[in-house]
Symmetry: C2
Subunit: 108 residues, 2 copies
Amino acid sequence: MIANLFAGLPSTVTVDEQLATILQRPGLRIERIVSTGQASPPDFWYDQDEGEWVVLLQGEAKLRFADEADARHLRAGDCIDIAAHRRHRVDWTAPGQVSIWLAVFYAA
Amino acid sequence: MIANLFAGLPSTVTVDEQLATILQRPGLRIERIVSTGQASPPDFWYDQDEGEWVVLLQGEAKLRFADEADARHLRAGDCIDIAAHRRHRVDWTAPGQVSIWLAVFYAA
């Protein structure tokens, strides 16, 4: 269980994203995702049964929707609500930086 | 609608807390609460029908539970899950600072 969102962060670049479930309740899941330069695999798209509200708390990222031409460049504090089954991917996260996402998944 | 959690903050001390609903879905509500030294009124206790997961993103606060002797001193990143009907109050937020809460209310 995470007691502080900014604790336990990697000090160096990690191979994979770090994912931690913070809260799980019926129809609700809160996760912290820590990226250090990772992106979604080529041609991979998330297609989720749940809605997802996500905020980038620290770092920088480019979030791409399949129904939009250009990726959205997210900076600290930017938040976005992703409807269930709206296909999206992470095109880029800032290399050499620790980017922290807080994601709230909810029953659609 | 808030697009960035750190935007639109007061530059000076405000009389009341600023409250903004960021997302509202069945059984789910996400709010940003901005405090500049406010506390709950004397002898006031929150007693909520919903569960509340809350994180203090910036600033400092003291959160008191009716079933605990001492207030919990929260600093940036500290998060806590408050069960429905667990009585609690905000004893203190840092004066002269902007404290930012992100609260996720969910059906209990």
